[in-house]
Amino acid sequence: MGTAPTVARRDRLGLGTSPLRPDGGPKVRGEFAFSSDLWAEGALWGRVLRSPHASARILRIDTAAARALKGVHAVLTALDVPGSELYGLEFQDQPVFASDVVRYMGEPVAAVAADHPEIARRALELIEVEYEPTAPLVDPEAAITAPPIHPEGNVVRHIRLRHGEDAEPGLPGGDGLVSVEGTYEVGMQDQAFMGPESGLAIPDDGGGVDLYVSTQWLHVDRDQVAACLALPPEKVRLHLAGVGGAFGAREDVSLQVHICLLALSTRRPVKVVYSREESFFGHVHRHPARMWYRHSADPQGRLVKVEARIVLDGGAYSSSSSAVVSNAAAFSSGPYRVPNACVDAYAVRTNNPPCGAMRGFGAVQVCTAYEAQMDKLATALDLDPVELRLRNALASGDRLITGQVINGTAPVAEVIRRCAAAPLPEARPHPPAMALPGGAGRTADPARVRRGVGFAVGFKNLMYSEGFDDSSSARCRIEGGAITVTCAAAEVGQGFVTLVHQIAEDVFGTDGVVLAPAETATVGSAGSTSASRQTWMSGGAVDAACRAARDALCGRVAARHGLSPEMVSMRDGRVVSLGREVDLTLDEALAGDVVDESVTFRHAPTVPLDDKGQGDAHVSFAFAAHRAVVDVDVDLGLVRVVEIATAQDVGRVLHPLQVVGQIEGGIAQGVGLAVMEEILVTDGLVRNPSFTDYLIPTALDMPVVEIAGLVEEPEPGAPFGAKGVGEPPTISSTAAVAAAVRAATGLELPRVPIRPEHIALAAQ
C-alpha cells in the first residue's frame, strides 16, 4: 500500500535519492545529544519563577530569602536586565521578566541559579512575590474594544481585505446565487515537541557568552539576547544544540536571555531544562480562532464572493501574530478563484497564553472554516464536493484575493484529482476491537459505528512574506583535501543535514563533504527553519556556495594548466579536465592553497499588504489535498481515523523518504487538532499542561497514510525546482477529518477539536 519508498543502497548520489540521515542512527540508538543532555564542568542549574495568575499587578518582589539559601548563586529579576527590558520576534513587547504587571499565566518573574535543580526549586519557593490579581481579559472578541492590557493596545493587527468590484460587506447581487454561512472555531493547539526547551550557557573571560540551545533561528535569537544583555552581537555566540522537534515553538525566545544573564552574573556555566509542564508555559501555541464566513456562488458552483470575519487570539504578547493574521487573511478563501472578497481579520491581545508560530501558520485555522463552507455549498448546490472544488481550483496565472497573480506553479486541480482518485479502503468485515473507535478500551459496538469520508484542500505561502528581507548565507571551504560546508540553518528534525550532503554530492560528485556545526560566529544568518523555507533558502545558499567553491577551484586549476575554465570540472570528488589530461585529487588541485566562498541567497522580493489587504506579498505557494476516512462510534462520540489519502504539490522530490516523513508527521498533527489536541484555558488559566491531559495521537490513533500523488511540477525560481513540503500536510488534514466526522454523523460540528460529547450528546 502507498508509495513509501524503502531505503536501499543508493546506486547514485545526490538529489532524488534517499540517503539515511547522518543523525538517524544515533537518534534511534539513544546516543544523539539533545540540548538537554549537555553538561559543563562546574555548571549551575537555572530555573524560572512564573506567574500563577493570568493578570495581576506585582506589588512587591522580595528575593532575600532565596538569596540566603545555601547553594543559590544568583536570583535575578527585571532589575538585573542590563539592556533592553523587552524582546520579541516582530515587535519588542515582551518583558524578559515581568516587573509591574503579569499578563499571562506562566509569565517569567525571576530566575535563579543553584548548585542543584532541587535547590533551585526551593529557592523559587522562597521568592516572595506579592500579586494583586486583576480580572483577566480572556474573550478575544471583547478584546478588540476593551481597555488595553498592554501599552501597545489590544489589536496587534487588523487586516481589512477588500478585493474585487463587490468588496464591501453584504450579499452579492445576481440571479440564482446560493449563499451559505457558518461560524467556526479552532482550539489552541500545542506544538508538543518531544524535547523540552533546554540549553547551556558558558560565560567567557571577556564578558561574552556561548549559548548552546535548541532553536529554529540562531541569529535572530542572538540579536534579541545581545540587545537584552547590552552586548555587541559578536560577544554572544549561539550554537545549535540537538533539537527535539520545533514546529514553530522555538521561534520565540524562551530561556535564552535568562540563561545568559544567569551565566554572566555567576560567571559559571548554567544549564536550564524545562520540565514538560513548564514547557507548556515556555512557548507560544497555535492561535485559537473564531471565524464567521459567508460564501456565495452561482448556480454552476462558481464562487462569486467570500465574506469573512476572523479573530485570532494572540494572547498576552505579539510574538508572530501580525504575520499569522496576515496569512489567515490572505489564505482565508482557500485555493480557489474568488473574484470578490471582504475579509476582516484580527489578531488581538488577551490574558490567555501567547500564541505565535505553529506549522501551517494562520493557514490551518482558516482552512477548517473555508473547507467546511465548501462542503455546505456543495450540499446547497447538490454538487459533489470534489467537483465543486475542481470548478473553483486556482491555477497558475490566476489572481488571489490579495490581488497577487500566481506566477509559479499551482497544480490545485491535479492534487485534487490525484487524491480523489485513490481507492477507498475496504471496510473490514470483522475488525479487531483495537481497530475500532475506542481502540484498547473495547468500547465499540460494530453496529453503532458509522463510516464517513471527508475531503479538503489547503495551501499556504513558502518563505517569509510582505517585504521581509529574507536571506540565507552559506559557506564552502576546500582545504587540505576536505570540503566543509557551513550554514547556520537549524536542523530541527526536518532533514536539512541530509539535504546538504545530497546537494554537495551533485556539485562535487562525492559524498565526503563535511557539514560544520551550525553557529553564529563564522557564518551569516540562514534565516528561520520555518515557513517551509530552508530547502529553498538554505538549500539554495549551500548549492550556490558549493558551486562557487568548485568553480573557483576548477578555475585555478584551469589557469595553472593553461586551459579555459569550462574545460575543467569535478567528477567523483576529483578535479578533471575534459579529456582527463588533468586528473587531480582535491589536495593536488589546491596546491597548498585554500578555497573559501561565502554566498548570501535571497528569494524574489515581496511587498507588504496595503490598506485593502492587496499586494504581491508572497513568493510562492504550495498546495495539498487530503481525503480522510473515519469510523465514528455515534453513541460514544469516539473517532477512529482509518486512512488519510493525500496528494501534494512538491515541485520536485529531493529525498523521497523525507518527503513521506513530513507528510506523515504533518498528518499526525492535523489529526490531533481534529479530534483531541487542545490546551484548555479557563479564565486565562491552563488546565492541562501535561502529556497526561494534553493528548496527542498514539500509534493507534494514527491513520494509514496513502500517498496518492507527489505532484512534481518544478517551481520556476526555486533552487532544484523544489517547494517546501513541511507545512501543507497539516493544513487540510484537520479539515478533511472534520468533514469525514460530519459525514459519518450528519452533525454540523463547527469546532475543532471535535470532542466525544459534541457527537454523543448531540445525537438523539
Binding site: 526549586r121 520540565s275 509542564e277 483495537m434 473507535p437 475506542g438 481502540g439 484498547a440 478500551g441 473495547r442 468500547t443 459496538d445 453513541d635 460514544l636 462520540g637 469516539l638 477512529r640 479530534v675 483531541m676 484548555l680 488546565r687 492541562n688 497526561t692 491531559d693 493528548l695 495521537p697 498514539t698 500509534a699 493507534l700 490513533d701 470532542r755 466525544p756 460529547e757 454523543a760 450528546l761
Partner: protein, 290 residues
Amino acid sequence: MAVFVPTSLEELLTARAERPGLDLVAGGTDLVVEVNFGRHRLEDVASLSRVPELGGWRREGPAGPGGHLVLGSGLTYTEMLDPTLAELLPSLAQAARTVGSPQIRNAGTLGGNLGTASPAGDTLPVLAALEAEVLLGSAAGTRLVPLGEFVTGPKRTALAPDEVILAARVPVARGHQEFLKVGTRNAMVIAVCSVALVLDEQARQVRVGLGSVGPVPIRALEAERFAAEVVDWSTGRFSGGEADLRRFGELVGAAARPIDDHRSIASYRRRAVEVCARRALERTMSRQAA
C-alpha cells in the same frame, strides 16, 4: 534520603514498623510522577520489587466457585495479561490492556493502583465488581478489607502508616466478564469513565463496577438487581430485549456521580457509562470475552 531494598516481607514490615510513613515504591509510575510535579517530596523510601512474597498470584481453596485467587500487590499489568490468569479474570486482563503503554504495563502494579486509589485507577472498578478484598499486612499481622472500605475517597485509602498492601483476594466467579473504558484517544489514556461487568453464575448475580464517575469506584446495585432478572442463568447470557438494555443502561447511569473536569463533562460521562453498560450486558450473548 535513604533507599531500602528489602528482600523479604519480614524485612519490609519491620522497616515499615520502625519508620511509619516510610515511602513505598513498586513500579514508581505514580509515585515518581508525583515527585516530579513537586506534589510529593521523597524522604526515606523502600523498594518493593525485591520482596518475593508480593509477586505473582496463586489459588486458594477450590479451583471453582468458593475458591479464591490471591493476586500479589507486585503483580504487573503485563502479568495480568498472561493467558492463564487472563482466562480466570478476563475483565482484569481487559483493564490491564488499557493501562498506559507497554513500558507502563511492565512496571506498574496492582498494589500501586490500589495505593494511589485514583478515581481513574483502572483496576478498581474491576476489583469492585469482582467483590475483591484487599489483604493488608504489618508487623502486627494481617487484615482483609473489602475494596469498598479500602478506598475511602479520591486518592485516600484505609492503609495504616505501618501497613503494606500484600494482595487482592478475589472470589472465583464463573461467568462472562467485561471491561470497557472510554478515553479521548484510542490507547494510553486516562479513563473518562469505565464499566466493569461480572456475571457470577453460581450466585446468579450480575455485578457492575464504575470507574471515573465518582470519588471512589461505584457499584451500580440497582442496575445489578435488574440485570439479574434479564439473564438466562442456564446459559449465563442476557436474554432480554432492547427495552431491558435501555433500562439497564439508565440504571447504571443513575448510579454514576460524575463531575465536570478538564477530561470531560459530567453529562457525557453519565451518557457514556449508560452506553458502555448496555453494551457490556449485550456482549454476554456472544460469550466471547476477548
